[in-house]
């Protein structure tokens, strides 16, 4: 068992022949991920990295049976790429692209309503199921097989958590990087719910940051439905209000989306919240060994 992706997932890479797409597709293949081809409009019929190139996602679905797509398309065209994948019947769309205009994402997110596709991201490191499939840009070697699921808005903090979890003698089932943009496809709560329902996952690391109300929503859901221990961390306890901290979505807008407010709600909902990002791994080990 695993969540979202596994060794049977058939992955198509949108923006396959570009610099980013090529580099990361090669890394994904080296990890053992089942990449069945890529899409670059106008280059259909050729091959790249020993895989077929298609003109459209629909062709990749029809010919290669793709059911998961990963998007490396530049920001101006990425929302269109999301809609194309959803229209083609892709079940899971992972959008890595950073810097998509917000109004484009308003339209793309709305386009997904009533379609079967689930979107992860954009502006995220992707999804990895340890030793099965890496659909993202994370360094594969830091993920050791284990029983901890990770949900995170941040890329490098996902790596930090995976590394600490491994150092604490544990490992990772699936890590989901949900992305740091104001509008993303899969929320913290939805990602936590997926891991909560995964029999292999015994504990969950939930990493959030300032801005928005997704952590509070997830915390309330966990309080009502949680069956496994959750360790939480919120980045940006020292961030000044009104300033954007790197991620487009990381801005304190009011009293409710500060790190302190989120941490308080999470603690009230039974989540073990750590103050320091250095304590994620050992705290997970402690709560799992109780």
């Amino acid at each position: 068992m695993s969540v979202l992706v596994n060794k049977n997932s058939k992955i198509v890479v949108q923006g396959f022949t570009g610099k980013e797409g090529s580099f990361h597709a090669e890394q994904m293949i080296a990890y053992g991920t089942n990449v069945v081809g890529g899409v670059t409009p106008g280059k259909g019929g050729t091959t790249h990295l020993d895989r077929p190139v298609f003109n459209t996602v629909a062709d990749a679905v029809k010919t290669a049976g793709a059911n998961v797509s990963i998007i490396f398309v530049p920001p101006a065209f990425a929302a269109d790429g999301i809609m194309e994948a959803a229209d083609a019947g892709i079940e899971l769309i992972v959008c890595i692209t950073e810097g998509i205009p917000v109004q484009d994402m308003v339209k793309a997110k709305n386009y997904l309503v009533g379609r079967k596709a689930r979107l992860i991201g954009p502006n995220c490191p992707g999804v990895i199921t340890t030793d099965e499939a890496k659909v993202g840009i994370m360094p594969g070697f830091i993920f050791k097989k284990g029983t901890v699921g990770i949900v995170s808005k941040s890329g490098t903090l996902t790596y930090e958590a995976a590394d600490q979890v491994a150092k604490a003698g544990l490992g990772v089932t699936t890590a989901i990087g949900i992305g740091g943009d104001p509008i993303i496809g899969t929320t913290t709560k939805e990602a936590v719910e997926l891991l909560m329902n995964d029999p292999e996952t015994k504990g969950i690391v939930m990493i959030g940051e300032i801005g928005g109300g997704m952590e509070a929503e997830a915390a309330r859901w966990i309080k009502a439905n949680g069956t496994k221990p959750v360790v939480g961390f919120i980045a940006g306890q020292t961030a000044p209000p009104g300033r954007r901290m790197g991620h487009a979505g990381a801005i304190v807008g009011g009293a409710d989306d500060t790190a302190a407010a989120k941490m308080k709600i999470m603690r009230e909902c039974g989540i073990t919240v750590v103050d320091s990002p250095a304590d994620i791994g050992k705290t997970m080990a402690k709560v799992l060994n109780k």
């Binding site: 101006a76 709305n110 300032i210 901290m245 790197g246 487009a248």
Partner: protein, 403 residues
């Protein structure tokens, strides 16, 4: 990206959104000429002089060291001369600028909107922004105009109305009518309001605004609806398709160091602490700031070097952080995934040697690909650089440096 009131109003006029018109001036002479022009056009001796800075609360704000407000009414050319002389070059301090205030380089000489007429004037509030939870744009409005809207929302939430707009569609006609009815308008003012909000929503979407606020939204004594003030913030990610708007960027309003950092693709935000940091990834950068605080220091900055931490970017980062004389130590925290740690380490060593004298402790934490080789490289470099692999070790080193 933030725009000045006069810039935002000019953009709105292209969308047929009526505004309180005026002329942007950089000298006293221009301001006086603008006044003559305006008083001739309006046939009135009244005009308003408004300081143009990127911060709210200008009307109540004062020029440093004086009792001069940032927005003032003039009744004569002499008034304009005096006000312009007082405002231009002065430092305006408002509730949003902080104690440092902002230098006034431009003033907007505008027509008086509060002239008398057959009906009573009224001030409303209206803004358009993104509702992150719903993934939809929302028009937020209130009969309580000209006030701090957060206070209104807190004290009298029933006075705040919201209309969510179907993605990809214009503001529906029924919604525009609903807004005008809820604001208590009728007759010509009602019609004027319907047209105003429909056009305003189109401007918000077409210009890729991240936030558009009209406060006050104003009903004149002859039943026209106009924007007396306007705050416009453009989505940075969308500037690529608005080169004309991007050209309006006022670098004088931004922190010079942050602008320079941007040239190196470094994402930098200046803070007031004593420990600088340089990190890859926004989330880890914020977490590193938090860790500095927990170790007894205060973060001096947010700095995300992104996916490419090489000698050039590291050197630029060091130089920018070192400019702040309050900085007593620098923590470099890189989680090397795709980036190899030994390369980053080499970059740190090269940058250090290029800069020459660095008199404060540098702590370098490199974890991930080739972390051991990186630690080795740093330790054998002979430089006054402490290295760590685990985040905990880095925290302990920061503690040592600030105590």
């Amino acid at each position: 990206m933030n725009l000045h009131e006069y810039q935002a109003k000019a953009l709105l006029q292209k969308f047929d959104v009526p505004v309180q018109e005026g002329v942007a001036c950089t000298t006293v002479e221009e301001a006086v000429n603008a006044y003559y022009e305006i008083s001739k056009a309006t046939n009135s001796k009244f005009a308003v002089v408004k300081a143009q800075i990127h911060a709210g609360g200008r009307g109540k704000g004062k020029i440093k060291g004086t009792e001069q407000r940032g927005v003032q009414v003039a009744k004569s050319a002499d008034d304009v001369k005096t006000i312009a002389t007082n405002l231009l070059g002065g430092t305006l301090i408002t509730i949003q600028t902080g104690e440092h205030g902002k230098v006034v380089n431009k003033i907007f000489v505008a027509k008086d909107a509060y002239y008398s007429g057959p009906s009573e004037t009224k001030e409303f509030y209206l803004s358009i922004l993104l509702d992150r939870a719903k993934g939809e744009n929302v028009v937020m409005y209130s009969t309580e105009g000209g006030m701090d809207i957060e206070e209104v929302a807190h004290n009298t939430p029933e006075k705040i109305f919201k209309e969510w707009v179907q993605p990809g569609a214009p503001l529906a006609a029924f919604q525009a009518r609903k807004i005008a009815f809820n604001l208590g308008l009728s007759g010509d003012a009602f019609k004027s309001c319907v047209k105003f909000v429909s056009n305003l929503y189109k401007a918000y979407v077409d210009l890729d605004c991240a936030m558009l606020e009209i406060n006050p939204l104003f009903k004149t004594a002859d039943d026209k609806i106009i924007a007396v003030d306007c705050k416009m913030n453009i989505d940075d990610s969308a500037l690529m398709r608005h080169p004309d708007v991007e050209a309006l960027r006022d670098f004088a309003e931004e922190d010079a160091t942050e602008v320079e950092a941007g040239k190196f693709n470094l994402n930098f935000v200046k803070l007031d602490g004593n420990v600088g940091c340089m990190v890859n990834g926004a989330g880890l950068a914020m977490a590193t700031m938090d860790m500095i605080k927990l170790s007894g220091g205060e973060p001096a900055n947010f700095l995300d070097v992104g996916g490419t931490a090489n000698a050039t970017t590291v050197e630029a980062g060091f130089r920018i952080i070192l400019r702040d004389k309050n900085v007593k130590a620098i923590l470099v925290n890189i989680f090397g995934g795709i980036v190899r740690c030994d390369r980053v380490a080499q970059g740190v060593v090269d940058a250090y040697k290029n800069i020459g004298e660095i008199n404060i402790p540098i702590i370098v934490r490199l974890q991930g690909t080739n972390a051991e080789a990186a630690k080795d490289l740093i330790e054998k470099s002979g430089l006054k650089v402490e290295s760590a692999i685990q985040l905990e070790e880095a925290a302990a080193l920061v503690k040592k440096a600030v105590s």
